[in-house]
């Protein structure tokens, strides 16, 4: 009978829907088969293309499965760090692996991190480790200029962040990412700390007044310079090296390297154990693996880092021998971060 068939079909549809819902509820997010399988949950802001091979290699070597959660540049540093803070009372992650240090210090101050001194990090200089061992730094990236070699001849290459104000370059031909987010914010904070608030404010205000192009992220700076839409821009070494290695007509200039100049910012990766981590033993094994000297070398080879903190051959993409860095402890840069972000928001978002 038609009505019975209709009812049967309706019940069938409802059952399918219930099954889909049940699947979502019954299959938990991360703990499936936990008794049989050892797992470690890693939250990382490192690009997936670089971090995923590390996870796969670790899995093959240790037999521990990595469940990663990745951040993306588009979320403006508001992704995983805020997730970790929100999860503080019921942590889901075991390890936080960041491509920089300031957000890790935010987590330390929010009491999200637990101390752990890895034996693998014994050869890492003390300045790259937190005094309380809540985080450890390794392999760094530097803030550099990417320059389009079709648009600028070598005699016109910029060599200082003050070249953002040089009249020989039209404002819109220069690019930076919004200095309120990501590594550009950290760089800006370092400048605020080193130069003092007034001089740093004047630098950025003048740059803004010149209508330099402020874009969505460091990768956009790279792309626009590589495409010839801008003459040069401030970005990270990993972004710029990607363009160099893919044969674009660009070159890398490390700013402020002369004797009377301040140097550039080198931003190490940081790794930290989460307080109350669900899988602490596995987390420590992973951190030992990541902090191993061989891993730092492998990350240089992969193109994620260019400036190792140990005595390891650096990336051939850019000559960083004797690189001069802004002489500041990381904590000082971090302390300047929030005031700098607030000031720069007033300057650049209007």
């Amino acid at each position: 009978m038609m009505t019975d068939r209709n009812t049967t079909i309706a019940i069938g549809i409802v059952l399918v829907l219930v099954l889909v819902l049940a699947t979502a509820f019954v299959i938990p997010g991360q703990h499936g088969g936990e008794e049989k399988e050892r797992i470690v949950v890693v939250y990382t802001s490192v690009d997936q293309v670089y971090s995923e091979p590390v996870f796969r290699a670790f899995e093959n070597e240790s037999g521990i499965r990595v469940l990663p959660a990745y951040d993306v540049e588009a979320t403006k540093t508001t992704g995983l760090v805020n997730r970790l803070i929100a999860e503080k009372t019921r942590p889901q992650a075991d390890v936080f692996w960041s491509g920089e240090f300031s957000q890790t210090i935010v987590l330390k101050n929010e009491n999200v991190l637990a101390p752990y001194r890895s034996l693998s990090a014994s050869d890492i200089p003390a300045r790259f480790r937190d005094a309380e061992d809540t985080w450890t730094g390794f392999g760094g990236r530097a803030r550099i200029f990417i320059v389009n070699t079709d648009l600028l001849s070598p005699d016109r290459y910029p060599d200082s962040v003050y070249d953002l104000l040089d009249e020989q370059y039209p404002g819109p031909s220069i690019g930076i990412a919004y200095p309120i987010f990501g590594t550009t914010a950290t760089h800006a904070a370092a400048l605020y700390s080193y130069l003092g608030k007034e001089r740093a404010h004047d630098l950025f205000a003048a740059a803004s007044k010149r209508n330099i192009r402020v874009v969505d992220g460091n990768s956009v700076v790279r792309d626009l310079v590589a495409d010839g839409q801008m003459a040069f821009g401030l970005t990270d070494t990993d972004d710029a090296c990607g363009a160099v290695e893919s044969g674009k007509n660009v070159t890398i200039i490390i700013p402020d390297q002369k004797e009377d100049q301040m140097g550039t910012l080198v931003i190490p990766n940081t790794v930290a154990l989460i307080r109350g981590a669900p899988h602490p033993a596995e987390a420590k094994i992973f951190m030992d693996y990541l902090l191993d000297r061989k891993r730092e070398s492998a990350l240089v080879d992969s193109g994620w880092i260019q400036i190792p903190v140990r005595d390891i051959p650096p990336s051939p993409c850019v000559n960083v021998t004797g690189i001069k860095t802004i002489p500041l402890p990381y904590e000082d840069t971090f302390n300047a971060l929030q005031p700098a972000q607030k000031d720069l928001t007033e300057i650049f978002i209007r």
């Binding site: 890693v42 540049e73 979320t75 508001t78 929010e110 192009r213």
Partner: protein
Amino acid sequence: MDMPEVFRSIHTGHAPETILRLVATGLFFFLLLLPLAGLSCDLIQAILNGSSDIMVPLLLTPRRLGLLGASIGLASAVAGAGIIIGILFMSALTTTRRNLLYGILLLLLALAGIPPYIHALTWSEAFHSAAAVFPGVPSTGWLISFWVELMALLPLSLFLSWIAFASVDTRLTDAGRIVRSDLQVLFSITLPLAAPALGAAFGFVFLICCTDYSVPSLFGADVYALDIFAQFSASNSPSQAFLYALPLLLVTLIVMIACRRGIRTLAQTPDWLPVRHGTPPYYPGWFLALQRGAAAMVIVQIGVLFTGLILAIQGPEALITSILMAQNELMFSLFTALLVIVISVPLAYAAAGELSRPGIRGAAAWTITLIPLAVPAPLIGIGMITAGNLPVLSAVYPGLIMPALVSVVRFAPFAAIVLFIQKRFIDPALFDAAAVFTRNRADTLTRISLPLYAPGLVVSAGILAALTLAELGATLIVSPPGHATITMRIYNYLHYGSSSDVAGLCMMVTVLTLAVSTGTILAIWALSRHFTTGTGKSGT
């Protein structure tokens, strides 16, 4: 003491579907309020802790007022232009064959599933190429931002304009054509009748544009949404960011409530895809030129997008590799989209009834429905985690259902409003007749209610799938470790600079959305044919 309606229904022996409807309605509003409750908890905690900065966001400085004004201006211009193009384009399609119209609508829906940022990147490339030929073509600024945002939201604007046109009863326009010119019929009958739904379409596009910072920031235009993110990034305080979002929320509420007044006046009995008869409309030359201009803009948008993507794909091998690498993300995205539809549609169907209510109760329902639309996506995610940390909800977080739940919170309101519009279209006398002539409630549901609601359900499901596939901000916050969506993968490749992979994945999203939408429509069509066999066209 008054008993809540759901308990009163049980107590007084109301029909099971009444209880089910009340439970579903309650669940709909509960889910929508969940992240807001989480954010409120955070806010209260911040106040109790004596956070000195917490009230700063409530002071609207001239800078913030300027940004808010710029956001409203941009969103109004984009939504207005989008709807005007939609009107011109859809008025040109009034006599199009039904199958072709299906194809166009599916394509629009599929394009709406591509993140706006990808549209923007292809346009950025196009401007750069144009500047090489025509020096002086601007590459940044408000005009460019307006154009690119318009192009990025054009598929959705056109799709929503079609819904508005479909809300017009063709018998009324056919009657008008006897005594007036086609142009007069369009301006004096069709547009006034479609105005409420066009207003809602304007509201939707305005809302999406107002909360997007990614496209304007790519072209150097600063908007209020970016300021919210800047404050969030600087403070790491969700409650403070929520307070910063309040002015935007207020504007959104005003716009949507204004649109709601119009929607509530709808009382027509149209067919979503009617078979058109008679001679094609005759329009004067100037209007035909405008229609052709609109069609050209649509073709240019599709052309620029696909040309950009195809040029970026470095051969079929690269395409296959990028697709194979993203298999898991693809499956997870489809699963999430399916889950969002499964959860949202029944709840929105139930909540649509609540939106029809007059007075304070209806106003409250509309307010709760609209608020999540204006809250920045990451705050929805953070609010859901805060709520998920409560012991009663600990089974939900972390879990595969969480990415679906955040999309439900963000997009189920759209489904509820579409179904509310659909409900306004249906003649209540049909339900009265069904109550008299059908033998049981299952019969009424399967042979009368579902076929009548089918178009609205399909449209809701399509919009939900497209928006869920493109969602990033909230999903990223709550995705279970080890699971990522295709959009997360796309943005990861974007940062890496792998335009070939990005293009490949975007093409795949488009093709898949087309396939899934076509499959859904075919399934609904087959089911409705089955249900109506032997009973004539029970749905109409």
